[in-house]
């Protein structure tokens, strides 16, 4: 390929790279500011506006978080919901996707229609709330997992992946006397590790990020996940609305560095899995656009 080395083209490249660098930096700058701010003394935060690197390093904000029960407890809730939820979701999704990947299964297209239709129309907030309530899930961790256990989108991605596996492999296993369960667990799942890992991460991220389910279904503040606590500490306290239920009246709004530290703690797990996510997500995002 002949490279265009004209003056205009080089200028274009230069400006383009400069602008993209600014876009990239502006995107991550708020995260860096919050991370640095969480390690900074209140005094330094007050003196300097844009803190990107703490010069007066301190762990006070974190010490405060770790000694107050609320944040730590909510982290525990979030970790439990994420782990248990991901396992539960994957179990349901893999089993159903595998069953639906069999082209000659009777009733398959009817079930697929039922699933796709849920992406277009839903009963909405109130009827869903009434179903969850009548199942007795209010104020239980199950309310954070079971009502959102499956995503039609993830299910279809998984089914498409299974459908594209070479059929010959399953045939030979069948000849060796393996049943559907044996084939699924000994052949199909080991062959589908990339897809399984991707979908697991998608589920894990969505469980970790759940907050509205908890606002709706969990009244007991001791069972709130970290996202809800974050909302209490940062959003409701910052806006200083009348809706500060959960804050005792004698408690002052937390200091800026404490807010930042809570944000960091709630963000960290996502940043840890981000490299793994990044390896697969583009593929996942594109798979979703393929018609099933």
């Amino acid at each position: 390929m002949v490279q265009d080395k004209s003056w205009g083209s080089r200028l274009f490249d230069g400006v383009n790279i400069f602008l993209l660098a600014i876009v990239g930096i502006v995107t991550v700058l708020p995260f860096i500011h919050v991370l640095a701010g969480s390690f900074t003394t209140v005094g330094e935060l007050a003196r300097k506006q844009l803190v990107l690197f703490p010069t007066e390093f301190t762990l006070d904000a974190y010490r405060y978080i770790f000694t107050t029960n609320t944040v730590m407890k909510s982290m525990g809730v979030s970790i439990f919901v994420t782990v248990a939820g991901t396992v539960f979701s994957m179990l349901l999704t893999v089993l159903m996707a595998y069953g639906l990947s069999k082209r000659d299964l009777r009733g398959r297209s009817a079930i697929m229609f039922l699933i796709v239709f849920t992406m277009l129309f839903n009963g909405g907030l109130i009827p869903s709330f009434l179903v969850v309530k009548s199942l007795g899930l209010i104020d239980s961790y199950g309310a954070l997992i079971i009502p959102s256990a499956m995503s039609a989108f993830n299910l279809i991605i998984m089914r498409n992946f299974f459908q594209n596996l070479p059929e010959g492999l399953e045939e030979s296993a069948k000849i060796d006397g393996a049943g559907s369960w044996g084939i699924l667990f000994r052949i199909v799942i080991p062959l589908s590790m990339p897809a399984t890992a991707t979908i697991s991460l998608f589920y894990a991220v969505s469980y970790w990020n759940t907050y509205f389910q908890a606002v709706m279904y969990i009244n007991d503040a001791g069972k709130w996940p970290v996202q809800v606590i974050l909302r209490q500490i940062v959003i409701l306290a910052s806006a200083l609305t009348a809706d500060t239920s959960g804050w005792g009246e004698d408690v002052l709004p937390p200091a800026q560095s404490v807010k930042m530290a809570v944000i960091v703690v709630a963000t960290l797990p996502i940043l840890i899995v981000y490299p793994f996510l990044q390896k697969h997500f583009a593929k996942g995002a594109l798979l979703g656009s393929i018609k099933g």
Binding site: F12, T27, V131, A149, Y211, A239
Partner: protein, 317 residues
């Protein structure tokens, strides 16, 4: 083992006539695998759809769906006559137009810029940076914004003061609700939105660019005459998809931004359902509001899909 394989091969394929019963027998394990997931969809997706009948009732929790009185379209009539209705509709449409006019082009421009980068390492670094916010919950996105916009030592207000301006109460001032909303969407989703365009651009034949260069086309002309036309169908499909989603302006996001001061510009259908239903306990009325929203949404998606096929583009589903 040989005779087993012969038996397996000898089994005739089920014809339609042989019925569900036989298929169930033969594929029992497969149906058993589908069952839990199917139950999930029936209980948590279809049961609520059935539950929408309360929109036509005067639902009382202690009387239940089967014991409550029927009121026909009374709740819908009330919705359309509420002064709030026009306000909510306006808010929803304004936020939708912001999404369409301000947000929608951003990923396209960003993808075009990324596509022009020749240094692959630099391109990958920028992509890594701009994809990050997509994985953060709305709580985190809004929290970080609030910490930076706060009147109490927020970065932006401190910078404003340092530059000699007055502090601005971004979080409470209704005028700042919409800019804040759209900027947060751009921050979180612009990078992620480039993926589908970049994939479409990757399949453009490089010879097209080479030929245009020989004809003396500059970089902007190449983008205008080669890259953009090549991703035209992707843009149209995504645009129609967006139009089908007019009423989905981001409930989880808006719910976090709302406070007593900015409700007049921020209240949309979903937040109104939450307010009327879960906070004020008007189950039937708010179910009717939700039903109206879902129904219009469904009609819009089907309409958008029909349009997309009419334009000769691939349908959405």
């Amino acid at each position: 083992m040989n005779h087993t394989s012969a038996q397996v091969k000898a089994l005739p394929r089920l014809s339609r006539k042989e019925g569900l019963a036989k298929s169930l027998m033969k594929n029992g394990a497969l149906y058993f695998m589908i069952l839990p997931g199917l139950l999930y969809f029936l209980i948590f997706k279809y049961l609520p759809m059935f539950g929408l009948v309360i929109a036509f009732q005067d639902y009382k929790p202690y009387q239940g769906i089967f014991g409550s009185d029927w009121v026909g379209f009374a709740h819908f009539e009330r919705l359309f006559s509420e002064p709030m209705f026009l306000n909510i509709l306006t808010n929803t449409l304004v936020l939708f137009v912001l999404n369409l006019v301000i947000f929608f082009p951003v990923p396209i421009v960003l993808a075009l810029m990324l596509n022009e980068v020749r240094q692959q390492v630099f391109k990958r670094i920028i992509q890594t940076m701009v994809y990050i916010p997509h994985f953060m919950s709305w709580v985190i996105i809004v929290s970080i914004s609030f910490v930076m916009l706060s009147m109490d030592r927020g970065l932006i207000n401190e910078l404003l003061v340092a530059a000699g301006f007055e502090k601005v109460n971004f979080l409470m001032n209704p005028d700042w609700f919409r800019p804040m909303y759209i900027l947060q969407i751009i921050w979180r989703e612009a990078g992620w939105g480039t993926i589908i365009y970049l994939a479409a651009m990757a399949s453009i034949d490089p010879q097209l660019y080479e030929a245009s260069r020989i004809d003396g086309a500059g970089r902007f002309r190449q983008i205008w005459h080669i890259t953009l036309p090549s991703i035209r169908s992707v843009i149209i499909v995504l645009l129609l998809l967006k139009i089908g989603d007019v009423l989905e302006v981001g409930f989880e996001h808006i719910f976090l931004l709302l406070n007593a001061m900015n409700r007049e510009v921020g209240e949309v259908f979903d937040t109104y359902v939450y307010l009327a239903g879960l906070q004020q306990g008007q189950f039937s009325y708010s179910a009717a509001v939700g039903f109206f929203k879902s129904f219009v949404g469904l009609a819009l998606v089907i309409g958008a899909n029909w349009l997309s096929k009419k334009f000769g583009e691939e349908g959405i589903y």
